[in-house]
């Protein structure tokens, strides 16, 4: 699935025009219900993307490569035909790449992903598993973060200085994370992790038809959008 998203991204990067991005986005939105993700979760997770889009668009509109008729000029900022078109195209592209990334990752199970990376792609097992164990620790660290916040409120330190408090909490979180990591390392090592000798895998990595189908679909979207753009003539490298 990772490969699919990569493929899609590559296709879209190759071109920067409105049509290809729009086509890709349209197809994705049409296919999205197939993934059966609760709407609220989707909205929440894609919020960074959604928020970023108008800002990016605005930024490009002001500072993008200038061409065509000029609308507005202020210091460094030139709003022109060309930059406006670029803005729209980039906004669509961000959406086209961002949304499937988020959507697919919501569905991804880290353990399966790790199995795939280590067994199929043959990435070094110790590192993949280390990363997996660390990711599992994220929820615990989240709970730690909440405790850190409550502790500061209880001590009278939560009223002012938001940035400073954030930095102090982040540092404390790093300390807690390091402590947990060292204990986890002991536990893992005691269970034989990192021992010399070959390792076996209790779960076979699934890279069957379902996965290939997903990759095909994603790359397909990319291809289709490029084709349409070429056909319409707005293809621009």
């Amino acid at each position: 699935m990772l490969l699919g998203v990569l493929g899609l991204g590559v296709c879209l990067v190759l071109s920067l025009d409105v049509v290809s991005a729009a086509v890709a986005l349209a197809i994705e939105l049409a296919l999205l219900p197939l993934l059966r993700i609760p709407f609220r979760t989707l909205l929440l997770r894609t919020s960074p993307v959604l928020l970023a889009v108008p800002l990016t668009g605005l930024s490009i509109a002001l500072y993008g490569r200038a061409s065509g008729r000029e609308w507005f000029d202020l210091g460094f900022a030139h709003v022109t035909d060309g930059s406006l078109v670029l803005a729209v195209a980039t906004m669509l592209r961000v959406l086209a790449v961002g949304i499937p990334s988020v959507a697919l990752f919501i569905r991804a199970d880290p353990t399966d992903l790790a199995d795939g990376l280590a067994q199929v792609l043959r990435l070094p097992a110790r590192f993949v598993l280390g990363a997996l164990a660390a990711i599992r620790m994220m929820t615990i660290l989240g709970e730690d973060w909440r405790q850190l916040g409550m502790a500061r409120r209880a001590r009278g330190l939560a009223d002012t200085g938001r940035l400073r408090r954030g930095a102090s909490m982040a540092f404390a979180l790093l300390v807690v994370a390091l402590r947990r990591a060292t204990t986890l390392a002991v536990a893992m090592e005691a269970r034989g992790f990192g021992a010399p000798g070959a390792r076996t895998w209790a779960r076979p990595a699934r890279f069957g038809r379902q996965e290939w189908a997903a990759v095909a679909v994603l790359v397909g979207i990319g291809m289709v959008s490029i084709a349409v753009a070429v056909a319409v003539g707005t293809w621009r490298a």
């Binding site: 409120r153 009223d159 404390a172 002991v186 076996t200």
Partner: protein, 522 residues
């Protein structure tokens, strides 16, 4: 599943010593100890006597590579052998379970976690899953293999760790305070699981625990270590307890039969006059004005996870209230709600005028500074509370935040009161567990709030630290502070003469404490 693989291991220490890289003194030195295959040995000693170090050496998980030529590295002396070989070369023969239940969980699904050890040892796939199922059976963890590991209780987690170890078919089982952070229920679960494991494999057992009573029925030998030294006593448990009982208690071991007397931490209750005074008060009488009042309170963690409902209670000045109940019923959540850190999901939590002092009736709506002056909270993990770089600054932080006029003077007093003066310039994170706990209580007390809430203040402590903390809490209560402790520690409740609130899923029942023989639901 060849039982032949799991023949018991022989452990031997020959004049063994170890010094950690960041310490000047030797953690343990001159240890001579032989454990024959299948023997079951308990190791006790004061904190700092190197018990953990011993166990980690056997499991080959000590942190540093010793290098005699480099004096910033660790140092080793003598030898430790498992089955006659270096522990590092016989991985998988020794299974280690430690005291923090969260630390052992590697994978997000139960089956995968148990299989982890087998995978590392190169066990073939079908055999692995056979072992996994067998292991889960033995420890009594009756859950589906793909159940998530995120919401397990402490007892379940430790049993999961034991299953993970059992699946490796170890020759020796090494336990480093596995029951320290568990509630009484969890302790029983783990004890039974270990017994089943030993019956299944016949492995050698090496266990360290402060509350040694838990393991006395399983071990053949009791060994006492001394700090920076070696073995002081070694023999059958009953005999060692008899001859070295006092030394053991001084060393922080909970010797069965030597538990603290009820009310021993409260001067008011333990002196004859005090006891008479207390006895003369009719049941339900209050030592002071009501400070907090909860009516049909419902608690929740976050927006969707409602935990408790229908809770009624009152907190008065000078009262010690213990919130108990089975695991998962929401004791911590209630504690944090009472402390004004979590918003009540329903019902009413009201702070009366003597407490609120003009700030409004709802603690969760108070500003942080207002809260700190009225209700102090000590968290289960002291390290979550630290905000400063030195102990002294830590003690001053609260008063400073409130704009009080004498933070330095208060800090000075507290340094002495909590026996932390020699650590005044140390970084709080470098303190030992007991020292950190005292510091955490000190920082909360620095602002002199009328109510103090503590979440599991005595979890995982040896007797000496326990006593220090309990004495502190007793002094607090005697001076008029209302103390609310969320705890499952029966000795704490009894030593402080606490009023007990037993939480259940549908509410809370107060239990008047005078006779602590009323059993709580288990």
């Amino acid at each position: 599943m060849s039982v032949a693989d799991a023949h018991a291991a022989r452990i031997e220490f020959r004049d063994w010593g170890w010094r950690y890289a960041d310490r000047d003194a030797w953690a343990v030195r001159g240890v001579d100890l032989v454990v024959e295959p299948g023997e079951r040995v308990a190791v006790v000693g004061p904190s700092g006597a190197g018990k953990s170090t011993l166990l980690r050496a056997v499991a080959a998980v000590l942190p540093d590579e010793p290098d005699a030529a480099d004096d910033t590295a660790a140092e080793v002396r003598g030898s430790v052998l498992v089955d006659g070989a270096a522990p590092g070369s016989v991985r998988g023969r020794v299974g280690l379970v430690m005291q923090d239940p969260e630390a052992h969980t590697v994978m997000s699904r139960i089956g995968d976690d148990v299989a982890f050890g087998c995978e590392n040892l190169g066990v073939e796939r079908s055999e692995t899953w056979l072992r996994v199922r067998h292991a889960l059976d033995v420890v009594g963890l009756d859950l589906p293999l793909d159940r998530s590991t995120t919401r397990l209780s402490g007892g379940q987690r430790q049993r999961l760790a034991l299953a993970g170890v059992l699946a490796m078919r170890p020759g020796a089982l090494v336990l480093d305070e596995p029951c320290a952070n568990l509630d009484p229920n969890g302790v029983v679960q783990v004890h039974d699981a270990v017994r089943a494991l030993l019956d299944d494999t016949g492995a050698t057992l090496l266990v360290v625990e402060h509350r040694i009573g838990t393991w006395l029925d399983l071990v053949d030998r009791l060994v006492l270590l001394e700090p920076g030294g070696g073995v002081v006593a070694d023999g059958p448990p009953a005999e060692v307890l008899r001859t070295h009982g006092d030394a053991l208690t001084a060393a922080g071991v909970w010797v069965p039969g030597a538990e603290p007397a009820p009310g021993s931490a409260r001067r008011l209750h333990s002196t004859p006059d005090g006891a008479q005074l207390a006895a003369a008060l009719p049941d339900g009488a209050q030592l002071g004005p009501t400070l907090l009042h909860a009516e049909r309170l419902a608690t929740a963690r976050g927006r969707r996870q409602r935990v408790g409902t229908g809770i009624d209670l009152t907190v008065t000045r000078g009262q010690v209230l213990a919130v108990t109940g089975p695991n998962g019923v929401g004791k911590s959540t209630l504690g944090l709600t009472l402390a004004g850190l979590l918003r009540p999901a329903a019902g009413v939590l009201r702070a009366t005028e003597p407490l609120a002092d003009g700030a409004g009736p709802s603690p969760s709506a108070w500003s942080s500074r207002t809260l700190a002056a009225r209700i102090g909270t000590v968290f289960q993990e002291p390290e979550h509370q630290f905000v400063a770089r030195t102990v002294r600054a830590e003690l001053e932080a609260g008063p400073r935040a409130l704009g009080l006029s004498d933070p330095a003077a208060r800090a000075d007093d507290l340094l002495d009161a909590f026996a932390l003066r020699h650590l005044a310039d140390a970084n709080p994170f470098t303190l030992s567990g007991g020292e950190q706990r005292r510091l955490a209580i000190g920082t909360v007390v620095a602002t002199r709030p009328p109510v103090v809430v503590l979440d599991e203040p005595t979890s995982g402590q040896d007797r000496a630290t326990w006593q220090a903390v309990v004495d502190r809490l007793g002094a607090l209560a005697d001076s008029g502070t209302a103390v609310i402790a969320v705890t499952h520690d029966r000795d704490l409740i009894s030593a402080l003469d606490a009023d007990r609130i037993v939480l259940t899923a549908t509410g809370a029942t107060g239990v008047k404490d005078r006779d602590t023989t009323t059993g709580d639901a288990r």
